[in-house]
Assembly symmetry: C2
Homo-oligomer: 413 residues x 2
């Protein structure tokens, strides 16, 4: 998205018929606001031979989206949400959260062991996994710690969508259903949990209720049409649609079925949510409905009054987004945004809303409602339920305060 | 996809409980076929720190898909269809067909002129285009000359899906509807055609019926979540969903409304279809229903009898694919393949079919049927209608002959 101008009708009117068919576009034009300008289209690209194609395409040198790397040894990169369009995150811009870096795995050496409460413990090669009937689905992934800067009534104002909520991405995933593999090994009917263990240097591991396997869990080996990239779990990862990112174990090497959770380091030392009363909730897998305006947002500055195309993402781990509501006055009144069709379950949903800014201070907010009726809460509501020190699942209503000078700062109330 | 083995049940059975929880996967296993093997997972990646993340992700060094470049000066690259999964083509693997190379266009210098039979001729900057309400849709693009090698009853056998039909890709596109722009300029009610002119060195131009603008045509500026890449028309291209690739004018700089077609060089010297009687059909925009098996296909060689996961793409310019039929015996009998949901209109649809190969010679064919009832024709049917010298819109039924030795060759009858 781009900076907003004075009006959506501020297009250039051509003065006369000076632009004859086929000529370069250099006619003098009359702007709708009365100012004359020469619509000089720069050097004429029709006068020089173009570049030859390559075996791999590349971005324009004028387009340089990048992930933001955090200095943590564990490894965190954030997706430039404000630079994106539509609903797909380009694979090289997908966020990352590693617990001990990105392992190098030879596809021929890859093995997935499935054992525990099964009739036939088995080891699958990558070729074997790929030979099963596959499914392709579009899902979001979000780190359970995403958006902590919004869990305050007095947050820093100078954060961008990428800094605030960049641990969020959306992809088309292809893989084999875990239920297919569990049927192959003869999973026992009384198995209620399974362990998913990664082959990174942290041996990241999580316990997962077996119901998720019988529902929609995948062993995914492809993303956005190609093999998964190393930082996303090459050659194969667990995918638990709608559930917190860390449980979608990358570089997965082992699934062990059991009748109880495994209480791994990764689900006790972290990824439990401290509560108000000093206890913590554990196994809080589902990501609640959330939304974020990605334009206009800090550090964009609106140039002046006129039409602004508000847009952003909404998502929920519980199915489909039912609606996204927009407020221009800090939550006093709300109106419905348009949702980009098709609205897919557990996938990023693009919303948009045409706003005619009058140049006065405004306070933009978005609020997602999912098909279960769940409504994205305010900070006050969530703090009342979880207390001030909650560390995960930050899905409170976000906002952007627009000043009379067009500057924009992050705000929650 | 990978080479097929002897059986889908050829997974490895773990001998005993030697793989204790948390240990590296080096247990001896008993394969289902009786052969013992040590499931050695190679160097253990859990024993060394992983790589640090970068601002842009990258492919595994073991995954090296590439476009195939034709030597033509005009520029042709073909998508490696056999290497892809799901329905999205990664942006850097999208096919190309240029008429005089890839122009370099500065986004600030870009202008789109809309004039002719309009009330208000106007020039739009890229920022202005982006400020209009946008839509995001998933569509295929196919060059109208794609697949000529299949227009014969005695084709070369040694062609791959990429060589045969690689001028085909699928993307999520974002842009502004042309109808929005036509309303803005006040298109005259009696305008029946518009010219779309590119700013490449060939000044590629096509006449388009105005009905397409009022239907679903877009000025697209984003693809698969990011700005369109230079070889796809950066910063903006015309998108005519379901219509032949060349009419989707890249680097579009001018739309001129008229009450007749413009009869440009690009629609008379080429992109007309020679017919049997010596005449030619012109303005044959819609791409007819077509399908292609991408696995198994030349040069893959099946290793031996067993389960083979047949898969490929189907698509139609007329809406949704209704079904894809598979034949294993050269067209004598047919069965329905599974279609990956959601089946989107004018988009690539992934189909799959589980085939248990008995080791005897086989002749695989796929046949697409779209929601209008149109059935992908045989070569004989199409040659009867068009004659032997047709040059475009090659959508005849394709097949792959599998020999008893597992080798695979392209065949049409």
């Amino acid at each position: 998205m781009t900076d907003s101008g004075d009006s959506i009708s501020r297009r250039s009117l051509l003065a006369g018929a000076a632009a004859a068919a086929g000529s370069a576009i250099t006619a003098r034009v009359l702007r709708a606001d009365g100012a004359e300008a020469a619509a000089q289209a720069g050097p004429d690209p029709t006068k020089v031979p173009g570049d030859r194609p390559q075996v791999l395409g590349s971005r324009s040198p004028h387009e340089t989206p990048e992930k933001l790397i955090s200095s943590s040894i564990g490894g965190v990169t954030r997706t430039p949400l404000q630079d994106l369009y539509g609903t797909i995150t380009p694979a090289d811009l997908h966020f990352e959260r590693h617990h001990h870096g990105i392992p190098r795995i030879e596809p021929e050496a890859y093995r997935l062991l499935i054992h525990g409460m099964v009739d036939r413990p088995m080891v699958f090669t990558l070729d074997e996994l790929r030979r099963f009937p596959s499914v392709t689905r579009t899902y979001f992934l979000e780190c359970s710690g995403n958006g902590g800067a919004g869990y305050s009534e007095t947050p820093r104002a100078d954060v961008s969508p990428q800094q605030l909520d960049g641990l969020l991405s959306g992809s088309e995933w292809t893989g084999v259903p875990v239920k297919t593999l569990f049927a192959e090994v003869g999973a026992h009917a009384d198995a209620s949990w399974f362990l998913a263990e990664g082959s990174d240097a942290a041996v990241m591991a999580r316990s997962v209720p077996v119901e998720k396997a019988w529902d929609d869990a995948l062993i995914a080996y492809a993303q956005n049409g190609e093999a998964i990239r190393p930082e996303q779990g090459y050659p194969a990862r667990l995918l638990l649609p709608g559930w917190e990112g860390n449980a979608n174990v990358k570089w997965v090497r082992r699934l062990e079925l059991s009748d109880r959770p495994f209480m791994t380091r990764d689900e006790t030392s972290r990824y439990s949510d401290p509560l108000k009363d000093g206890t913590a909730r554990i196994f809080s897998f589902e990501m609640d409905a959330k939304s974020l305006i990605t334009y206009p947002a800090h550090p964009v500055r609106l140039e002046g009054p006129g039409w602004v195309g508000i847009t952003g993402y909404a998502w929920t781990g519980r199915g489909r987004i039912a609606r996204v509501e927009l407020s221009l006055d800090g939550g006093a009144t709300w109106a419905s945004a348009s949702l980009q069709e098709p609205v897919l379950p557990k996938a990023l949903t693009r919303f948009s809303f045409g706003w005619r800014w009058d140049g006065e201070p405004a306070h933009l907010m978005s609020r997602a409602v999912d098909e279960t009726g769940y409504v994205q809460p305010t900070v006050a509501e969530m703090q009342a339920a979880r207390g001030p020190r909650s560390r995960y699942h930050y899905n409170t209503i976000r906002g952007w305060k627009v000043g009379a000078d067009g500057t924009i700062g992050f705000a929650t109330v």
